[in-house]
């Protein structure tokens, strides 16, 4: 990865890749590799499948060149591809997909109280209805804005807003109930 590639925007990288620039392909891969892997793991349930989905997603993406046009954030293109490939893989393997498996990952070093609070919050996210949880993950884990979530999921922005609102209300309610229990 050279400095010139690091400075280029996604749009510039896509343009260069359309011209056959190998370093642009590589930079696009390195830029989104970990994120696509996380999304794949979220839906496939294990790291081995997530690796295969990562590979298939980029094979699919690179095969769109030349002629690929970047009309929104690249994540809005990669997310549905990774999601569908991961779900298909899980269906083929007849696996029960665990809910947001990344929540099981070890939390970074932090005081026990905070760690417990965070675990509770993640647990509440985990038990959200799937449609609401997906919006929450796209918004807060993947950092997409509402319109990008709408494009990514192929739903109206109003639906995104209402799902997010309902999810936050549910989380707030659960957290408050938990606090009351402790008190």
């Amino acid at each position: 990865m050279n400095d010139q590639a690091a400075r280029r925007s996604d749009g510039e990288l896509v343009e260069a890749a359309n011209q056959g620039d190998r370093s642009a392909f590589e930079e696009l891969y390195h830029r989104y590799r970990d994120w696509v892997f996380t999304v794949a793991r979220r839906f496939s349930g294990n790291e081995d499948d997530a690796c295969d989905v990562l590979q298939e997603t980029f094979f699919y993406f690179f095969n769109k060149f030349p002629g690929f046009e970047l009309r929104a954030q690249l994540k809005t293109f990669l997310y549905p591809v990774a999601k569908h490939m991961a779900l298909n893989r899980s269906k083929k393997a007849a696996q029960t997909v665990p809910l947001a498996p990344e929540f099981d990952r070890i939390l970074p070093d932090m005081p026990r109280d905070e760690q417990a609070e965070r675990r509770e919050l993640l647990e509440f996210v985990r038990i959200l209805p799937e449609a609401q949880r997906e919006v929450v993950m796209l918004r807060f884990a993947d950092g997409l804005d509402l319109s990008e979530i709408a494009v990514t999921m192929g739903i109206p922005i109003g639906t995104v807003k209402s799902r997010l609102h309902q999810a936050l209300a549910k989380l707030k309610e659960n957290l408050q109930r938990q606090k009351q229990k402790k008190n």
Binding site: Q19, G20, L54, F62, R105, V125, V136
Partner: protein, 162 residues
């Protein structure tokens, strides 16, 4: 007041969620074989695109050359035809259609007449299309008018052939 509290709670909750959920991609344990396979595919794709572009560039050059050759051939043909119409010594020549007087003459006739007048050549009253007793630029205009007129030409009548 309650709304403000709710907003504060929402903001705090959103902050908490961002902190808790971001960084979930840290420690992605991606097998080396995946990196190798994807980068090999990227390399192959880039090479394929560059080769296709080279072939396309060659095709464009070939098509341009073919078009230029066609233009040259057309220009040569036009010149030959024009010379046939003008005649070897620059004399006005009638084509078959002009000889039998069934067409009103065309823009080439107008051009030839204009050229001859511009060169100061004296022409017979056969070319006095507007019947004013002189062969001049007014006759060129009259012939041009007839050449583009949609009115049917009377067969057998002199109708503007140079």
């Amino acid at each position: 007041m309650k709304t403000t509290d709710n907003n504060e709670i929402d903001t705090a909750l959103e902050q908490q969620l961002s902190e808790a959920l971001k960084g979930q991609s840290d420690g992605a344990n991606i097998a080396e074989r995946v990196d190798k396979a994807v980068l090999a595919m990227a390399d192959a794709k880039a090479t394929q695109i560059r080769n296709a572009r080279k072939i396309r560039a060659t095709c464009v050059w070939r098509w341009s050359a073919a078009a230029a050759a066609m233009l040259l051939i057309c220009a040569g043909l036009s010149l030959t035809l024009m010379q046939e119409r003008i005649g070897e010594k620059g004399r006005l020549v009638h084509t078959t259609s002009q000889t039998d007087r069934t067409s009103p003459g065309d823009i080439v006739d107008v051009y030839i007449l204009a050229s001859k007048l511009a060169a100061g050549e004296k022409l017979s009253l056969e070319y006095d299309y507007n019947k004013d007793g002189n062969v001049d630029s007014a006759d060129v205009n009259e012939l041009a008018r007839r050449a583009v007129s949609i009115e049917p030409t009377k067969v057998g009548k002199k109708a503007g052939h140079v």
